[in-house]
Symmetry: C2
Subunit: 556 residues, 2 copies
């Protein structure tokens, strides 16, 4: 049976916590935060939603590509941020796309962009809709006659495989599982597993510089790109398929992170992996988070390159069921399709122990050499518990929204020298803000999703009691406090959640001003009508109707 | 005693082949190619050069920053390509910079760019002047009132070191050896050793996406960048210092490869390495180049990440003295500051043997654990011979120019599936062209400088007999044949030599047209007067005096 996507929140109907599990979740919240168990807000049905009438009508040639079906329009109104789900649960769909377009070919996309450019209609590229930063919204303002959400799901095929170079040409609209299904018969895998894997697409990963499976080395989807093809209002943008190049600034790096403002990504040649057959893993326990962080630093600087090198603080380990002993954890794993990993895990465990980590010898697993038991299935213990919680998390978050709680995650990256102050600064800023906003008690946990030789990518989870009718304002206060604190302490506003509309104010402060000017000009050159995803990365007013050329030298 | 840089060619006075060695080289050429040994063209002295008078006078505030000294102006007229040295040996310095500026601060650079913008004077950033692609020339045409070469050599300090994150803030004008000298007391190293190491700068490496020491994984300088600071005519461009980020398109990647057209790079925070203390190496011999290439592919896809994985064809091995047995070589080396490398080299040798490589057990060296003998000194056998030839090569090339020979190197990268046809296509195109041009006999050799999981970076050397007065035209024919062939066969016009002016025609075909439009617009936004390195990457005419806004949608 075909699964039905939820139009109001994460995932598909029938998944996520059952009514009984939601009651249990409410009781857990009460036990932790006090108060009475809340009754969950019932999810909306599509018939409850009163969508405004579409303001635009597609030309005849595009009629079969576009739909005004309410379920599609409601389902494309938001991404999946806390605010998105809150608004959906509160039946607020006030700015839906006027139409949802589902192109079946690049020619359809060319026609869509031509039409939108001619009629000044916003064109918002849409992959899986998993944005948590307002990246796919159609609330574009009155400068536009309407908005079309361009859903890429029909372009979902692996078109070509080069086995010798381990690469494939892949359409951008393919979802994670369908992509892996098409690669598996060839013994290949992209091995890109963001938390959104089930409900996000290759094109979305590329447009947002998605963070993936590998905790070290190849941390972002960027690292697996050979070439990208996109349709811009000015024509086709296709880079040459290359393993490496030094010919000018990289055209691919200009599209990576462009979040749909330069063009609609339609295909990419991606570097693939052989399916791993060797695996080694260990879990180390540390008396403090700082000890675990130091061990992670040593390992990140060792040149061992583990696939997993995730640090969980004690609260994170407890919340996710990975460990409730009050210790911080370091989850280590290596994988390979080429060689046994004994020497690798042995040295990594030595690093962990050098920094105060406890690793029982029987908790060091080294497997492989055949295809059995070495792949994704071989996850158990703390790492397995953590991974299960990781996959379930978005469903749980939606349930928490419906129970009136504040639940938010945000992430960054900073250099090692900056981390202690950043960690302390963010934690206290968020807790102080939550308390001041009445979202109290609150807890902030931290883990490292990725680590680099020069710094970690810390990921924070906030859970707090919310109150009605302040819940959304409380979330906004927490989100703003987090953004301000991580910016102040030298972090990036996002390591892998993207910028969208929600991170703009901090992003604008982070980027160099001449680069912003260059980016606005670049966008105006390829999207002169300024139709593509207005408000993301740059403001439409900076692109369309600019008052003449840029200021001359010395004016800044 | 201070070394004196040659104004007409590679390196410093007193280095390179002696008169006796040049005679020997002439005899070797004769033995290989026939004809009579040529008398070398004597290098010019500065008094022989008749430089045109400077067309511009610096304002008083910049008088102490600028010089019109003939030695400086002649020395900044060219890079170090075959054509550059040929012209210098033939006393042709017809387009020198009018002035050489040697800024001592960013304020000097701001003032220089303001002056150049106001007066429409070309400003050509200059690092070590090792460009082989016409990247630092001042032949900018009559649209400009003059040209200033901005030599960054006075900005040569390591300003700050973050030992815990293993990073340093470094001024762009520092040369390779001086950089390593400043890092050594901290136990750190950038380990970026392009062939030009002695005579090139950090800023030059960044601007040209220089290829470095590591044959796998971190192949380009790009991979070691935390942040870059540049002065543009529109103000300071400085990215946040971060180990990783997903916040929009990377501002650093826009400067990397920009070759001075967007701004003058003044500083960068760079990721460093601990000085390696463990080393393992081996040399494998193969019956054919194809066998060696297959072994390199297997190793590049193994996840072992050797620091050296260089393939030499039999002719290359013979020419460089690495091996004259007529076999192809694979030079393998691992290095680490963290762990012994026995398991790594053992598995890599296994891969080599699986593909027909012969490796004597006593040719597998595993060293380390202390600081002695594991660092750069530990190079012997075939790898050591090859490395010595590598370092000497630019001096030898200059001598070959003076002996009337054709000597050229060019490089690319392509996917593994494309390599066999590319190799065959380039070799035959170059040989056919050389013969047709009368540059005969000729030999083409190939090595891999870097390898990726999805393809190699092949590097070609052409050596041919030249004839007078056709020598330069013969070289141009060979260069054009190489560019056309590697473009035709799916390679990039450059993996690490940059684009400059010499690679423009192929680069323009390689890059996506909407990206070119975006790049031109970006340049116009940060350099509205179009003064920075005109003709490199984009044409000045596309930036200054553009006829109105970009064409609308549907026009392409």
């Amino acid at each position: 049976m075909q699964q039905v996507r939820r139009f109001w929140g994460w995932g598909v109907e029938g998944e996520g916590p059952t009514a009984a599990q939601q009651r249990k979740l409410a009781e857990t919240l009460t036990a932790r935060f006090g108060g009475d168990p809340a009754d969950p807000i019932p999810p909306p049905t599509i018939n409850e939603i009163d969508l405004r009438a579409p303001r635009i009508v597609p030309p005849a040639a595009l009629a079969s590509v576009c739909t005004d079906d309410p379920f599609e329009r409601a389902g494309h109104t938001y991404g999946k941020s806390f605010r998105d789900v809150w608004r959906a649960l509160h039946r607020d769909f006030s700015c839906p796309p006027d139409l949802v377009a589902i192109p079946r070919s690049e020619a359809d996309i060319v026609a869509l962009l031509d039409w939108c450019s001619d009629e000044r209609i916003a064109a918002v590229p849409y992959g899986g809709g998993s944005s948590v930063v307002g990246g796919v919204e159609c609330d574009v303002g009155d400068e536009y006659r309407g908005a079309v959400s361009i859903d890429m799901r029909a372009l979902d095929r692996v078109l070509e495989i080069d086995r010798v170079s381990r690469a494939a040409r892949i359409q951008a609209g393919v979802y994670g599982p369908a992509l892996e299904d098409q690669l598996r018969p060839h013994g290949l895998t992209l091995r890109h597993y963001p938390q959104s894997f089930e409900f996000s697409t290759l094109g979305g990963w590329l447009a947002t510089r998605s963070g993936g499976h590998y905790a070290t080395l190849h941390t972002h989807i960027d690292d697996f790109v050979e070439s990208i093809r996109a349709i811009t209002p000015r024509g086709e943008w296709e880079s040459r398929r290359l393993p490496g190049s030094g010919a000018g600034p990289s055209p691919d790096r200009a599209l990576l992170g462009s979040e749909g403002i330069l063009g609609v990504i339609t295909e990419a040649w991606m570097r693939l992996q052989d399916r791993p057959t060797f695996r080694a893993s260990a879990t180390a326990r540390f008396p403090t988070f700082e000890h675990a962080a130091e061990a992670a630093r040593a390992i990140s600087q060792s040149g061992l390159y583990p696939a997993n090198c995730r640090v969980l603080d004690a609260a994170e380990a407890g919340l996710t069921g990975a460990d409730d002993s009050g210790t911080a954890l370091l989850l280590l794993a290596f994988e390979s399709a080429d060689h046994p990993l004994g020497p690798w895990i042995t040295r990594a465990v030595e690093c962990a122990r050098d920094h105060g980590g406890e690793v029982a010898d029987d908790q060091i697993a080294v497997r492989g050499g055949s295809n059995t038991g070495a792949g994704e299935g071989a996850r158990d213990g703390a790492a397995g518990s953590w991974r299960n919680a990781f996959i379930r998390a978005p469903y749980t978050r939606d349930a928490l929204v419906g129970l009136g709680a504040i639940s938010e995650t945000f992430e960054t990256a900073c250099t090692w020298d900056a981390f202690p102050a950043l960690h302390e600064g963010i934690t206290s800023a968020v807790l102080d803000t939550a308390e001041a906003a009445g979202a109290w008690p609150a807890v902030v946990t931290c883990r490292f999703t990725h680590v680099y030789p020069d710094g970690p990518a810390p990921y924070f989870t906030v859970l707090a009691r919310g109150t009605e009718p302040e819940q959304l304002a409380q979330w906004e206060a927490v989100k703003a406090a987090a953004g301000a604190a991580l910016t102040k302490h030298g972090g990036t506003i996002t390591h892998h959640h993207a910028v969208g509309r929600d991170h703009r104010r901090w992003y604008d402060r982070q980027r160099p001003e001449p680069f912003a000017a260059a980016l606005r000009a670049a966008k105006a050159a390829v999207d002169p009508a300024g139709i593509l995803n207005p408000g993301v990365i740059v403001d439409p007013a900076d692109v369309i109707g600019l008052p003449g050329p840029a200021p001359g030298p010395g004016s800044v």
